[in-house]
């Protein structure tokens, strides 16, 4: 295992990290929109949101990626591999994050919402200022967990031509015939990245708790 091989793995790790973080962020925004749609209680918003969640939770990510990559060109949208990867991961994680958030929204004390109502908040204000912050605080550990899951699931994006850590490790292992040090290094890189996410998540969780007091 030479330094050159390890550097190649690290370069691939940057791709994994970049794609995952962008997808988690986009997914979070979509998940919030989905939550708003569900919390609105109006079936014109509620039903599409439910359909979205059950589709992207119910179809394997691998199939979603292949669909986005090879089906969209049929209707004239030819996206490059990197876009297909980010879109696939974002939509998938959005569905899971929305489900996590649903638990949080369900736990928002009724009294707070009623108080906001009495204080003259409209629906959007109540959502942005009362419900969403509380739901987010309650489901933050689940969000960190989801970030780690997506980072690991990003190994699937090699099917749309992205050379991330796992694919790079496979390529290197088959050309150098040293599978053990290469896959062990790949595992180590994943572990370090995910430990960092967990650590940062724990820190953020603590500071959120302080804010709620």
């Amino acid at each position: 295992m030479t330094l050159k091989l390890f550097t190649l793995l690290l370069e691939a790790a940057l791709k994994t990290l970049g794609i995952s973080l962008v997808s988690i962020a986009i997914g979070f925004v979509i998940a919030m929109l989905l939550s708003a749609a569900i919390q609105s209680g109006k079936s014109i918003y509620l039903l599409p949101a439910r359909l979205f969640i059950s589709f992207f939770r119910g179809v394997p990510l691998l199939v979603q990626l292949l669909l986005i990559y090879t089906l969209l060109p049929v209707i004239g949208i030819n996206v490059p591999g990197i876009v297909a990867a980010i879109v696939g991961l974002s939509l998938c994680t959005a569905a899971y994050q929305a489900e996590n958030l649903r638990g949080g929204f369900a736990s928002v004390p009724r009294g707070l919402v009623e108080a906001a109502d009495v204080a003259g908040f409209n629906g959007i204000q109540t959502f942005l200022r009362i419900r969403a912050p509380i739901a987010l605080r309650l489901t933050f550990p689940a969000l960190v967990n989801e970030a780690i899951m997506i980072l690991k699931a990003s190994s699937l994006v090699s099917v749309v031509g992205i050379i991330e850590i796992t694919k790079m490790a496979q390529d290197l292992a088959s050309s150098t015939y040293m599978p053990i040090p290469i896959f062990a290094s790949a595992a180590l890189i994943y572990f370090v990245i995910n430990s960092a996410i967990a650590l940062l998540g724990g820190y953020a969780e603590k500071s959120l708790k302080g804010a709620s007091a």
Binding site: L66, T70, V74, N78, G161, D171, S174
Partner: protein, 275 residues
């Protein structure tokens, strides 16, 4: 009101689709020249045609398309995918042509435009060095043999297996590299693949593997793959001419010598594959 909005949305969608379709109906060769880039799809687990050598993309395909790009005045952009999604992505227009290469078969020329042959593709057996239980192809009867998924080699192996006294236990792998790894680990006793490929593997992993000759099945050839539509015709004609020109001026022979250690006498076209 809502209905009118909906109609508008549908009309806009149809317009978008129509414009993108008409943008698509353009000669691919002319487009590649104008953009200065030819997109080539491939799988990088098919040494010595296409493989990653310590992070570097190498092989006969890389050398060939480099030369073609120089003659055409374009840069080559590689799109690397697992083999089973290469052909679907070609049809989806993700790239202009597939390097691969793929064995020229009846089933493939029915659906795709195959280029002039670049090498022989007849299938033979790779075994562990010193394995005395396999000395000729028919010795694989009843044994576990690895082969790549969705490949012509798999189809040839299955056909050959049916002619043997006992069926071969065929194991399909996502890539041939995984099959070689399992041969090294003893999970299969042999790997069936085209001669140029296994000769290269045996040479590279000196003392680990051995090629069992002769090849079994029918004589077949490797070619590059494109789609049959009019947009791609000029590009694939160009590639055919380039292969035949490189064969005549000896450049193809040199590439074969470099990557296979031997040269092949290939025909200019395979209108009626044996397989």
């Amino acid at each position: 009101m809502l209905k009118r909005k909906l109609m508008k949305a549908v009309a806009a969608g149809a317009l978008l689709l129509a414009t993108s379709l008409s943008a698509h109906a353009e000669d691919v060769l002319a487009k590649a020249k104008a953009a200065g880039v030819l997109k080539v799809g491939t799988e990088t687990a098919f040494a010595p045609f296409d493989f990653i050598d310590a992070g570097e993309h190498k092989g006969l395909n890389v050398d060939f398309f480099e030369a073609l790009g120089k003659d055409l005045g374009v840069k080559i952009e590689w799109v690397e995918l697992p083999w089973d999604s290469v052909l679907p992505s070609l049809e989806a227009g993700k790239f202009d042509v597939v390097a691969g290469p793929a064995t020229i078969t009846k089933a493939r020329i029915a659906r795709y435009r195959m280029s002039a042959p670049v090498a022989e593709a007849s299938v033979a057996i790779l075994k562990k060095a010193g394995d005395s239980s396999i000395t000729k192809p028919e010795d694989i009867a009843g044994k576990a043999v690895g082969v790549g998924k969705a490949t012509a080699q798999l189809a040839q192996l299955q056909e050959y297996s049916a002619t043997l006294s006992e069926k071969v236990n065929v194991r399909e792998y996502v890539s041939f590299n995984d099959a070689y790894a399992d041969l090294a680990a003893g999970r299969v006793v042999a790997v069936a693949n085209s001669l140029p490929n296994i000769a290269f593997v045996a040479k590279q992993r000196n003392g680990m593997f051995e090629v069992v000759t002769p090849a079994f099945g029918k004589k077949t050839y490797f070619g590059f793959i494109g789609t049959k539509d009019d947009d791609h015709k000029a590009l694939l004609d160009y590639i055919d001419n380039e292969i035949i020109a490189m064969k005549k001026d000896g450049r193809l022979g040199k590439l074969q010598e470099k990557w296979f250690g031997t040269t092949f006498d290939t025909p200019d076209s395979v209108p009626d594959p044996a397989f």
